[in-house]
Symmetry: C2
DNA sequence: CTGAAAGCGCTAACAC
DNA sequence: GTGTTAGCGCTTTCAG
């Protein structure tokens, strides 16, 4: 940088300003400095800048795994929105292990990231305290907590499970199956699902898959359920890809959907609009979740007033052909 | 850090060593220092460390989008392997735009990342030169270049397309369809696909989807192809999810797979083992690609000898039920 | 609008 | 095994 300053005949500060606050530099000077930068191939060292300014312009996000469309689409929009705001994304995968999450948080705090996006609300009290003490802007996603660490954007998983059951019950089903990962948010949905079923005299058979819940696990689980309980007439899959697997399994066994079995997915991934019949599903606004998380952080970091610290994105049961004949498709 | 030093009655350097090279500190001293760190809640500032040591312990990766299972699984294993090696991942999405990629590279060089993982070989000469000048370890993935920037791990997309066609031709098909994204690697596969078809007197109808190639685009494309060319008997989808969409479309139209139409996928995602019939596909070792990329970088950064700068992971055509009756499933 | 001085919090040498 | 001395390359006051 001092080379640039010398070449342009100005001081270090002026070069710094030319880079960071071009408006506060006389246009003519700016041109000279830029020419010098160009000629010397100068790339400002952001690490040094971060150290001096105490702002890293890096946001960290921790997700269970990115190899799950449900999270990768959230991270996608998160990363895009941050990039537009001049921030970059440091990614951590916890593999659903809370200890791993805590270790990642330590590393991220050490890097002095400007903000943190977490998945869920399962953090230990110790971790919560640490984050609060660090004064780090935090957004929790994918759940809605009564006592968020800082900010949050999500929806009620339990309510979503409840709504799923209600949809199936409304179509006359009483023997319901649940296929999902053995993972906290999926369990919350199961809880809501069970509650709604119980309230209407329904019954629930649950099959839990140890994460990662890959598509190819769904068919066999469904076969197991059918073998044990042939009277099950509806199944709620906690991910549209799992549901697609179940649909294929139904085709294979000659079970007609929705006549013999109704299938309800979760997520409203693109796949839900590609199956036959089209997949009824619980729509979650994944992309918006990432975008809002980014916006909340950016607002905080630029001291803009924040309308709310807690955003409920809700969910919507989308009725398509896999649960009812009358519906679209 | 000086607070810790004072509290422990040692110098700054000793604290630094206690953190970074605990072996070179007397066990007793180490204990005292750690106690002080604990008590003061000291979290070392890695930014300052990076500036002083000129090593950031950050690797950056640029992928077109992470909202595509094909890339997210590579990034997943990349990130895991890096984490195990003590490195963190800074993620950039280019959205298939080369200009965006160049901008990201600038930002990453500015952050003084220790290494860079790129997708493909489409970089401009200017960018290649810049990276070489920066002396930054670079791994290109998902392709195999004659003239890599530095290191690479991938496979030949053209050969994969060729093998796909060969598989279909071997099953007697001559009127072939290709469904894929309008994106460089997909186009390379189309090229190989066409070559192999032409060599055997086959014919290819191609339908290109503007990225992102979402699943729900596949069925309609296939319908279009069938309408225009009812004599098409085999279709190669450049992604297993697209292929799943085509399978559903076939079910819908009463086309039997593989009797009326053979369907071949790409990737060997978990979905390929969940469809009915099971999906024949071109298997790509995505997870291994990320892992190897990470290992190559880590080796370089620790000055370990590197066996090769270029790794060909190959691919394999997996025959399942969607292209031939005889196969498994 | 521009500059001079004083760090940001750590690590690299080199001594002891 | 531990300490001393200099920075790493920027940004931040505060003057002018």
């Amino acid at each position: 940088m001092s080379d640039v300053a010398r070449a342009a005949g100005v001081s270090l500060v002026t070069v710094s300003r030319a880079v960071n606050e071009p408006d506060r530099v006389k246009p003519e000077t700016l041109r000279t400095v830029r020419a010098a930068m160009q000629k010397l191939g100068f790339v400002p060292n952001l690490t040094a800048g971060s150290l001096a300014s105490r702002r890293s312009r890096i946001i960290a996000a921790i997700v269970p795994t990115i190899a799950n469309l449900v999270f990768s689409e959230t991270v996608d929009s998160l990363s895009r929105t941050l990039a537009d705001g001049g921030y970059q994304l440091l990614l951590g995968q916890s593999g659903y292990r809370l200890g791993e999450e805590a270790a990642l948080v330590d590393a991220f705090i050490g890097r002095r990231v400007d903000g943190l996006v977490l998945t869920g609300d399962g953090q230990s009290q110790e971790l919560r305290d640490k984050l609060r003490r660090a004064g780090l802007p935090v957004v929790q996603t994918w759940e809605l907590s009564d006592n968020p660490i800082d900010m949050q954007v999500g929806f009620s998983n339990k309510a979503a499970g409840h709504a799923a059951a209600t949809h199936l019950l409304a179509h006359g089903h009483r023997r319901l199956a649940f296929i999902g990962a053995q993972e906290i948010r999926s369990m919350q949905r199961l809880e809501g699902f069970r509650e709604a079923a119980a309230a209407s005299g329904g019954e629930v058979v649950a099959e839990l898959i140890r994460p990662p819940a890959l598509v190819d696990g769904a068919g066999p689980r469904f076969a197991q359920i059918r073998a044990a309980r042939p009277d099950v007439t509806a199944v709620f899959c906690n991910n549209d890809l799992l549901a697609a697997g179940v649909l294929f399994e139904c085709h294979l066994r000659g079970l007609r959907v929705p006549d013999h079995v109704a299938v309800l997915g979760f997520g409203d991934l693109a796949m839900a609009r590609a199956t036959s019949p089209r997949l009824s599903t619980v729509q979650i606004r994944r992309a918006e979740m990432g975008e809002r998380a980014a916006q909340m952080l950016l607002a905080r970091l630029t001291n803009e007033p924040l309308s709310t610290k807690s955003v409920d994105l809700g969910f919507e049961v989308i009725a398509r052909g896999s649960t009812s004949r009358g519906s679209a498709d």
